[in-house]
Amino acid sequence: MASPRPATADQAEFLEQLLGDGLLVDSGVQGIYGKGERFEEVRMGIDALLTRTAAGLGAERLRFPPLLPRRQLEASGYLSSFPHLAGSIFAFEGTEAEAALQQERAGAHEDWSEFQQMTDLVLMPAACYPVYPAIAARGALPPGGVFVDAGGSWVFRHEPSGDPARLQMFHQHELVRLGEPERVLQWRDEWAERGLELLRRLGLAAELDRASDPFFGRGGRMLATNQRERALKLELLVQIAGPEPTALASFNHHEDHFGSTYGIELADGGVAHTACLGFGHERIVLALLRTHGLDPGTWPEPVRRELSPA
């Protein structure tokens, strides 16, 4: 079992406020919360704002369940970069006697994992993952490439924490671009600026900075240094709670990683480059609650208008 990250005093206090005010609902497991109506209304406002913005720029809407075929995860390289964050789905296979034994152990909260077999599914690690094979299956990209809005899908990260901004399951709104290298990079950079402006319109003191993913192990340190040096990952950061600002969105340039992995071809036969933008719905809501107060009814009028246009 992963050891939970301890919360700082202000993170713990913020979480208490959110639970006490009914914005979040406790589950007994760190990083897993239900949401009250006021929280969810704001989250849906953010979902609509992102969907509207992407649609206005020609995005094609695709939606996927929050599960990934295990073979796709295995092909993606995720288990080499982030083995510590992945969640796989196991299910019971056995006889009646084994089912009874499993229930006996489970009822006593003892280890019943020996009755569980790996299934063909894993929890969604990042909402953009199903997009690449789906687009690859269509054949070569049209000239200019493809822009997909994969929506605000549930994703899972196995990292229990007392920080309310570090959830184990949350909505990640992914926009994905596949196409010629220079177009993809330009799109990523334009969206970084657009995202910055979008968060500032919501009254958030957001800053754009280079970042790296939490790659696993010492090899991961090398990947992270490389990612930062070459500006492959940008983040929009806002102070919520804790010693450092929290990333509300990230803008990732994969170069030809997914293009090569899934055989995504350009119109001229070359390997497609890809980039994805991930907006964390819950983190944006938390930043808004922290900045403007726990009652969205009292937020500044322009912010409320962005989230629920007439």
Partner: protein
């Protein structure tokens, strides 16, 4: 750096760098990333070098420039050897 060590570096590159070219034909200063070594392959090269030479690269050496050529790797191994001496 002895010739034997450079031969060993090339063996590691042949087994782990997944280069689309013949490793023996490379110059010592050839840029392995430009030749097609991916970031993930460079991690495997790093781990295989640690095994082959029974060393551990310190954190400040875990970066792209150290592993970009046979010369770069040889320099890093030389430095680790002189520190250990």
């Amino acid at each position: 750096m002895t010739g034997a060590m450079r031969i060993e570096i090339r063996r590691v590159l042949r087994d782990h760098a997944r280069l689309p070219v013949d490793v023996d034909s490379l110059r010592d200063d050839a840029d392995l990333f430009q030749l097609g070594m991916t970031s993930h392959a460079s991690v495997n090269v790093m781990l295989a070098l640690e095994d082959a030479f029974d060393i551990e690269f310190p954190d400040q050496m875990l970066k792209r420039s150290v592993f970009e050529s046979v010369d770069g790797i040889a320099r890093a191994l030389d430095e680790l050897e002189s520190r250990a001496a």
